[in-house]
């Protein structure tokens, strides 16, 4: 399920670029690539950038990166096959300098060689998110035509004053005209959507899917035990008991199946238990008690606080002291419950043997009262402290050197596409130990990808809007980290959206990276002269990107300009969504909400 997203965004990073190929805007290579991607039709976005070599790399030549964002379901092998074997040979002209003086070989041999090399250096995204470009470029184009046609038609109808003041009559007339226009025959089918964005979009479908999988798993495990047991029973009934070996094996299988069943069910119960605790403390209690809510908010604020203050320092330290033992205890309890449930039962029996029921209840009540008092006291203290002195909340200087600096090449790249989809390429290093960082990043990215695929299906990642594609790659054997993204808006605004709308995901994706000094990849490209580090996080997901200045400087310094860029469509995410909604409204059932949607689409 994640593979389908990950292989939609691929990077081919070939080391040893000798820089002899002209990649300027009007060069034959660039124009060739451009028409290749246009012709192939399934490439949504492509870019080329030069990645400077690592400072400690043997080969000091830069790496050539080709980034491709392609349509859903295409295997990268097939995609590269199609590109490489295209009659125009545009891919060969891009990569031919890796085989200097080898132009005479048979075309098929060249293609095979190139295809093999590209596959070798291929990196499918370790994690990625797709906003509105789950649709094909062809669908986007057609729907955009429909949107524009509808607006023009509406303008003409308004001028003709045929439908005066009645919005629904106007919408109906528009729908009729669209329906009668043979150009839009394709729109009769509802807009195709992938499962999680279409039929499986409802929360019940999502829960249902998980439940179905779990039940199927239980049934399968049960069958593994029950079928041999049943067969043995029938055999014994018919012919008497078989060899003892057979009985033992069946008994073992049967026991193992029962054990797996028990563990599975108890794991789910433990998860549910955690869920209830989370719900209780983070949702139910805050709704009931204002004190608790404010206390929780202030803890969150202090953990996220970007500047150093005594309040935030203390909150973090106390939080560490309290939460780590509690978390350990909870996990230990859960494991005990899952794997050795009898220990809990024994402990409970020992307890009931010692104390009477009312004593236990009294103890629980006492514990609750004490903890409520403790929390109250803490919140009292924190509020009073605010009154006591400013020093507690007074920020301390935290100097970010060389902030708000942008390399001219990056600025130029951004300026050139200011009317289109913006694009960023960021290259950072993994924190050492690399293997450890890479493992954590992969796990985090899989989570981000899963959420992006299943939950955030409305073109927002968390609440960050405007993302077309965003993908992360761990490259060079886990040494470096590549992030490429297409988005609507400006770099700063994009990062603001991430800081405020997807704090957790962004911290997870970046916190195991750092930025080491490196030379420039080519003349006119940025170098990293001073190392930077990702802003420190607290409890893995807090703070980090909330330190805007440091985060933006980090991201800015890690960026590389693109040397070539192809974008199949220039529409913004909102426009793409609007056009799809309009299509479904025009050709869907005639009702008030569809009428209104049509009118609002032409009015926007």
């Amino acid at each position: 399920m994640l593979e389908i997203v990950r292989q939609q965004m691929i990077c081919i990073v070939v080391p040893g670029w000798n820089g002899t190929t002209d990649l300027s805007e009007d060069s034959p290579v660039s124009t060739g690539l451009y028409s290749l991607f246009r012709d192939v039709e399934v490439v949504q976005f492509a870019s080329i950038a030069l990645l400077p070599a690592r400072a400690d790399a043997g080969d000091k030549r830069p790496l050539l990166m080709l980034e491709l964002a392609i349509e859903e379901g295409i295997d990268p092998y097939d995609m590269l096959y199609r590109l490489v074997y295209h009659w125009s040979e545009a891919m060969w002209s891009l990569y031919s300098s890796f085989w200097p003086g080898d132009a005479t070989a048979l075309r098929s041999e060249r293609n095979d060689k190139l295809h093999k090399m590209l596959m070798k250096h291929l990196s499918i995204a370790d994690g990625g998110f797709i906003g509105a470009r789950d649709r094909t470029a062809r669908q986007i184009e057609k729907e955009q035509e429909l949107l524009e046609w509808t607006r023009d038609e509406a303008r003409a109808m308004k001028q003709a004053m045929l439908y005066g003041h009645d919005r629904s009559a106007f919408a109906l007339a528009l729908a009729q005209r669209a329906f009668q226009n043979p150009r839009f025959g394709w729109a009769l089918d509802p807009a195709p959507r992938s499962y999680w964005r279409g039929k499986g979009a409802s929360i019940s479908a999502k829960i249902g899917y998980v439940l179905t999988l779990f039940v199927l798993w239980l049934i399968a495990v049960w069958l593994v035990g029950a079928v041999p047991r049943g067969a043995l029973g029938v055999y014994t009934w018919l012919f008497g008991p078989p060899y003892s070996g057979v009985t033992d094996v069946v008994a073992f299988i049967s026991r193992a199946s029962r054990w797996v069943l028990g563990v599975s069910i108890r794991s789910v119960l433990a998860l549910l238990g955690f869920g209830v605790l989370v719900w209780l403390f983070l949702i139910a209690l805050p709704a009931l008690s204002r004190t608790w809510r404010r206390w929780l908010e202030s803890v969150g604020r202090e953990l996220d606080r970007p500047t150093d203050t005594w309040s935030s320092w203390l909150t973090y330290r106390i939080g560490l002291l309290l939460s780590v033992p509690i978390a350990f205890a909870l996990v230990a309890l859960a494991f005990a419950f899952i794997f050795w449930p009898s220990t809990i039962v024994d402990a409970y029996e020992a307890l009931t043997a010692k104390f009477l029921g009312w004593q236990i209840i009294a103890f629980v009540i006492l514990a609750i009262v004490v903890s409520v008092c403790a929390v109250g006291l803490l919140s009292r203290i924190s509020q009073d402290l605010a009154k006591v002195g400013n020093w507690f909340f007074q920020p301390y200087e935290d100097n970010v050197p060389r902030a708000q600096q942008v390399d001219p090449s990056i600025e130029n790249s951004e300026g050139l596409v200011v009317r289109e989809t913006a694009h960023m390429v960021s290259l950072t290093d993994l924190r050492s130990p690399n293997g450890w960082s890479a493992w954590w990043i992969r796990v985090s990215l899989r989570i981000v990808t899963l959420f992006g695929r299943v939950i955030f299906t409305e073109s927002r990642l968390g609440s960050a809007p405007g993302i077309h594609f965003g993908h992360w790659h761990i490259i060079e054997d886990g040494r470096r980290y590549l992030f490429c993204s297409n988005y609507d808006g400006s770099f700063g605004g994009y990062l603001d959206d991430f800081i405020n709308g997807a704090t957790v995901g962004t911290n997870l994706a970046w916190r195991w990276t750092t930025l080491k000094p490196r030379k420039l990849a080519a003349v006119g490209q940025p170098a990293v002269e001073h190392a930077r580090s990702f802003p420190p996080t607290r409890f893995i997901v807090f703070r980090g990107v909330k330190r805007e200045l440091q985060f933006k400087s980090y991201a800015r310094d890690s960026m590389l300009p693109h040397m070539f860029r192809f974008d199949a469509r220039k529409e913004s995410v909102d426009q793409i969504n609007l056009a799809t909604r309009l299509r479904d409204a025009l050709f869907g059932e005639r009702n008030d909400s569809n009428d209104d949607l049509i009118m609002r689409a032409i009015e926007s």
Binding site: W313, P408, V418, S490, D496, M599, E603
Partner: protein
């Protein structure tokens, strides 16, 4: 932990007064754009030093007391990056100025990023097609009829462009109890300013912060929407990210001992000004108004010409303060722009609570892009022709996140909130984009008007408005200049 950051309250006397107030009671204003002639750096510094010492540059403390001790005249001085260099300041290696300020609004990169094509500018902050870079911006405000503070800068030292205010811009119309600022098209100007936390504008509405107060007035309920952290406008303080705004430094500042705050950097208490001279084609707008009527014009602006929100019915018997006129939102009452079109000027420039996933996050994100406007309408009479416009000044602390973002993503983005044209007033003046369409949703079957080009930008620049101590450093002989000359001497030394 490192040293504690500066306390805003302790630094009022180092902050230039224009950050605290727009000097609404000083109705005459004048802007000087000075270019220091080559080789005239030392006299220029002396002239500026004399001007600074004359005490006309009000600080925030004086402005704060203006209710009891009114100021009769005030001035502000700001420098473009080339101006700072010209006057001998050398950027620090570790804390250099932000790239947008350094490259200047007039640079080619900014022309792309601000969507300023084509540009036919009379002046800018970089050397180029529009002539030599403007180095110094001086703004002065005086009571009506008092006359200018600066008669005329010395021609041998500076080449100067003078922008005079429009004497008719403060007018009292029916229902007003006092004269109010109106721009050339006749709309109230200067409304909906952000309120700096800890440095409030003199305003008649005081917030009632107590949550127990049940019968809050609407204005108070929405007061927090416009309260913005000081670091969004003044360098060195907490901003909306709860972080201290980045302060650049110059060489020699630390040793000069001028820093008011121990360890404070050069830019502390300063601000950046994004300045644009925007000419307004009043005749074109009047023609448009004659054809389409006043209501449509109000829809373009997003407010009634008297400053009232479109959704409110104007009631002359119940006058409202500027603050009260700012107490409205869109999300619930006008999500689709049926009342105030999504593409109207004020809704683009301040989308309030509309852009995020919910109300809270929307307001939070809008606060990251607020501008403190300090511009004034201007008038220019030449060859018997009167040209009007606005001399736009926006104070901000992060040019990229504030002015440039608003310009690039909101004002001049044709697909802002799914529209298909940019701002009706300050959108691109590229002839290819005309006639421009503005959608007016909610008319019986959807409305659209076709617009002409109402404004043209004549020039612009980024300026740094230093704190008063830093200002002294810039203009003093022994401060910046000494360092710069010693640098030069070092470079010249074998």
């Amino acid at each position: 932990m490192k040293a504690p950051a500066a306390h805003l309250a302790h630094h009022f006397d180092d902050i230039q007064g224009m950050l605290r107030s727009g000097y609404g009671w000083l109705q005459d204003s004048r802007f000087w754009l000075l270019t220091i002639r080559d080789g005239q750096e030392i006299p220029a510094r002396a002239w500026l030093a004399k001007f600074v010492e004359s005490g006309v540059i009000a600080n925030a403390n004086e402005v704060g007391k203006s209710r009891t001790h009114p100021i009769a005249k005030a001035a502000a001085v700001a420098f473009s990056f080339s101006g700072l260099i010209k006057l001998g300041c050398v950027e620090d290696d570790i804390y250099p100025f932000p790239t947008p300020f350094r490259s200047g609004m007039g640079s080619d990169a900014r022309a792309l990023l601000l969507r300023d094509n084509p540009r036919a500018w009379r002046w800018s902050d970089v050397d180029g097609d529009s002539g030599d870079a403007v180095h110094v911006l001086i703004a002065e405000w005086t009571e009506r009829g008092v006359g200018p503070i600066i008669s005329r800068p010395d021609e041998t030292i500076f080449s100067a462009i003078q922008v005079d205010n429009d004497p008719c811009s403060f007018r009292k119309l029916e229902g007003d109890n006092e004269e109010k600022l109106r721009e050339a098209f006749g709309f109230r100007d200067g409304l909906a300013q952000p309120v700096i936390r800890g440095l409030k504008q003199d305003d008649s509405v005081r917030p009632r912060r107590s949550e127990k107060d049940k019968d809050k007035k609407e204005a108070d309920a929405l007061y927090d929407d416009r309260v913005v952290q000081p670091g969004e406008f003044i360098l060195g303080y907490r901003n909306e990210y709860d972080e201290l705004t980045y302060c650049p430094d110059v060489k020699g500042w630390g040793p000069s001992g001028l820093a008011k705050h121990p360890g404070g950097r050069f830019a502390l208490n300063g601000s950046y000004l994004a300045v644009r001279q925007i000419e307004q084609d009043v005749a074109a707008f009047d023609r448009f108004q004659a054809v389409n009527g006043k209501d449509i014009c109000n829809k373009l602006m997003g407010r009634q010409d008297n400053g009232w929100p479109l959704a409110w019915k104007y009631d002359p018997t119940n006058p409202k303060t500027d603050s009260e006129l700012d107490a409205f939102r869109y999300r619930v009452d006008d999500a689709n722009g049926f009342i105030c079109p999504k593409g109207s000027h004020i809704r683009r420039m301040n989308p309030r609570d509309t852009l995020g996933v919910d109300l809270k996050s929307s307001i939070k994100s809008t606060k990251l892009h607020r501008l403190l406007r300090r511009g004034r309408p201007y008038r220019e009479d030449s060859n018997g022709e009167t040209r009007k416009g606005i001399f736009f000044i926006a104070c901000n602390a992060d040019i990229e996140r504030q002015f440039e973002f608003v310009q690039q993503r909101w004002a001049r983005n044709p697909s802002f909130v799914n529209l298909h044209a940019d701002d009706p007033f300050v959108g691109s003046s590229d002839p290819q984009t005309f006639p421009k369409a503005l959608s007016l949703p909610g008319l019986p079957s959807g409305g659209e008007v076709s617009l002409a080009n109402f404004t043209t930008t004549l020039g612009g620049g980024y300026f740094f408005l230093p704190g008063l101590a830093a200002l002294k450093f810039i203009v003093s002989e022994e401060g910046a200049a000494k360092f710069a000359t010693s640098e030069l001497a070092e470079a010249a030394a074998p």
